[in-house]
Amino acid sequence: MTPRTLKLRAGLFAVATLLVAALGAYLLFGRGPLPIQTDLLAMLPATEQNPLAEAAVERLAHANGDRMVLLVENADDTRAKGAARALGKALAAHKVFGAVTAELPPFDLAQLAAPYLGHRGWLLTDADRDALAQAGYDPAQALAQRLNEPFLTGVGMPLADDPFGWLQHWLAQQPWSRSPLLPEDDLLVAHRGEATYVLVTATLDGSSYDDGMQRRALGALHEAEARIEHDYPGTRMLHTGAVFYAAAARAGAEHDVHMVGWISSIGIALLLLGVFRSPGPLLLAFLSTAVGVLAATTLSLLVFGKIYLLTLVFGAALLGEAADYSIQYLSARANAGVHWQAGTGLRQVRPALLLALATSLLGYALLGLVPFPALRQMAVFAIGGMSAACLSVFWLLPALLQRPSKPMTPALVRGARALQHVLARPAHGWRGALAALLLLLLALPGWMQLRHDDDVRNLIAQPAALTAQEAQIREITGLGNGSQFYLVQGKDREQTLQHEEALEARLQALVDGGKLEGWLGLAGMVPSQARQARDHALLARLFDDPARLRRTLADAGFRAAAIDAWLAAWPGTPLQLDDWLKTPLSTPFRQLWMGCGAQGCASLVLPQGSADDELLAHAADGLPGVQLVDKPASVSGLFGRYRGYASVWLLAAVLLIVPVFGWRYGLRRAPRVLAPPVLGIALTLAALGYLDQPLTLFHWMALMLVLGVGANYAVFLHEGEPHTAGRPGAMYASVLLSALTALLSFGLLALSSMPALRDFGLTLLLGIAFTALLVPASRAGSMGEP
């Protein structure tokens, strides 16, 4: 290959790179808001077989997602209310909030009862239904008990409209009557201990995951909070909402990208400067890596339309592995000394690089098979980045590296050589098998301590301060948790409500038993027609004999006019779901109705308070059309399944590499070449056991990379040593260099704020370190004794 062709190729490659860069820049900045996805939920796979369940998850996430829930707390009641009003005004002045609710519009108690008045002959509470159904039901006695209730009776609902109190009882169990928040001074207020809490909600005029929206909304809030805490001393603000979590996640990831990115860049720079003793190689290594990251970003944007934050963090770490290829080429140049020829050097390293790339791609392709959007994107990112980085070594670097360079720092090579000897000695011949056995024995107790934990909530760390506030707000306001709910389906409205009623009977039993705080469902507010008909029939037993009923009321002291009016209102009409959904009263509950389609109708029932997961799942057992949707649990279950598959895949990947190595190195040598990465994985697992780290899907994904990277090291050593016979230790030095750059990038993920990445990083840290130390053993037979 002449320098001319090398230059021509490099030119073409440079042009292609610029085009890719332009495309990437357009995809990233040219299409409106930055396509970076910070919604952690969006990264999770679709877990529900039932597409409606996924739709419901989205609907609830959206209903709760773009809303800030704020609680203003002060021991002084007047100050708490003043502060809440001031907060409402301050936030309403900002355009970033679409709607701010602090003060309630004036309304009348009668408004709550009005929509039900015409249907009072069809609605009964469980207790009244039971009482009426009893054989010995005595209306006169029931009426007397009602009229002589201690202290108060017939409040909100005039006695004349509801002599027996049936409708009043019914209204009293409606969610707005049970809410711990009460309208007080036109605010929604709760009192706990000494403190007054006032609810203020603000809906964002956009998505919680929009970067600009987040910044403006939080800015406005913090500014308002600071002013109000100053103006109303003793005020404390509690807040929750997706926007706070999203902002925390973004800050965490940015911190990670900065820290891992910078430390790894600076670390690698110092390392390369120290080894090659000139800034040129350093710049070229970064150039090659930059080409890789550029291509990876563009490819990911092309395939997925947007990039997950997690991928960017992962990408920061990928720098290290992408640098391997250029390091190998640079090492070859340094080792060739004055005899260096760019084309020959390339031919010399090409098999190693191709073999290494093939094993890496194999590993990442397996990662891409996981039906988990975030992992799939990481796989595409890695495949794009690795391939581009490798291509840049083949096509771009040779043209830039025509002249020979200084050899590697001799001290380093000597050190590597000594280390290689020490590590290889116990692995000669049959002693190698014995040493491996000994290592495995040492690992055994570690393996015994391994356990699993697939809980997705442990993988996505949420700041403790935020979750504590959310829990407190939930406790004070009685708002549900939103991630667990029941999806109820039926062939039409009626059947759906009937299915709900079956579920709600069980949930109410849990409430009565003190195991659940409450539940929220439409059938509690609009019973099925069948139930209304049954309740109506129970009442009809009294109304069928109007003369007797009239006498009972008259005996109790009711005026004739009141009795006439009440009897004339019978039978009324049953309450219809569609009519009810049009009343203003139903506004806060409309999201519970999923509507009807070709498949039938669906609604949601929300358990309230924190209940045992098992208990909630059990409540749906055997009920037709009822399904508990528990997104975190489903995702955890999915992770668990894939963790199981991942261990099988790992084995499959090893088996896939065996024929490749066997073809290249012969069946007798192949086990020795494969031993370092495989033993590295075994020891890593043991170390994780000793560290008492429960294994997650991310540990296994990292082990896959360990296999890929570890196989690279074995390949580099095997392919490279014959060419550096004159410089013993030089090849191992370049492998160590690769390992150190990988540790400086991937390994630094162990410092990440996100547990999933931390697991990933720690596993790679251990795996790469073990493999790099074991790799000399694979050449043990081929080296002369010092």
């Binding site: 108690l109 002589n148 202290f151 108060l152 409040v155 209204l171 309208p183 201990g193």
Partner: protein, 203 residues
């Protein structure tokens, strides 16, 4: 109803020393009432309502235990015992066992409005009502007028009268309904019967 009970508890009970009003009579009344740990009385409740052409009258016995709640035992025109403890209402059977009444929970919107008083602090009552005291320590009246507009539209006022003990309660609603409760033979309760303890959930 239950919340109103709480109000009564509050008025009759101890933690009055730090009440925010500086009305000396009110302080005195509250302090006096709070001295009795458990009280028994016979009651007569008279309720009138625009829908009724004659008032309803019920009679019975009341046992009031400081910090615990009360047993409201109607004898006429029917026999029934209700236990009103903290936030719960329960019907008590012949053996003293409580059967919670679900439908009584949050019996009305007004009761909900009064929920602020549930915490068992007179502060709560003062937050919901403006209180005025009149008369002498030997013959006093406390008048509670709702501060909340929504409540005031339904509930007119509540007044308590008494001497050493609480003698009567009057509740006037805006729709003309009126409940009057008179207490006679008010006395220290003495030791409680096993049945009463069980009904109130006492050890």
């Amino acid at each position: 109803m239950r919340r109103l009970m709480t109000l009564l508890l509050l008025c009759c009970l101890a933690p009055f020393a730090h009440t925010q009003t500086n009305d000396a009579l009110l302080q005195h009344v509250l302090a006096e009432l709070g001295r009795h740990a458990a009280v028994r009385a016979d009651f007569t409740q008279t309720r009138s309502n625009p829908a009724l052409d004659k008032p309803q009258v019920s009679q019975g016995r009341l046992l009031f235990v400081l910090g615990r709640g009360m047993l409201w035992q109607t004898v006429s025109p029917y026999r029934e015992t209700l236990a009103l403890t903290g936030g719960r209402t329960a019907r008590i059977d012949a053996d003293g066992y409580a059967h919670p009444m679900r439908s009584e929970r949050g019996i009305s919107q007004v009761s909900q409005m009064l929920q602020g008083m549930l915490g068992g602090k007179v502060d709560e009552a003062l937050r919901q009502f403006s209180v005025t005291a009149s008369g002498t320590p030997a013959r006093w009246t406390l008048r509670f007028v709702p501060k909340q507009d929504r409540v005031a539209r339904v509930l007119g006022n509540i007044s308590l009268e008494g001497d050493d003990y609480l003698q009567g309660i009057t509740i006037a609603m805006q729709d003309g309904a009126r409940t009057e409760i008179r207490f006679v033979h008010t006395r220290e309760a003495g030791p409680l019967a096993a049945l009463e303890k069980r009904a109130l959930g006492l050890p």
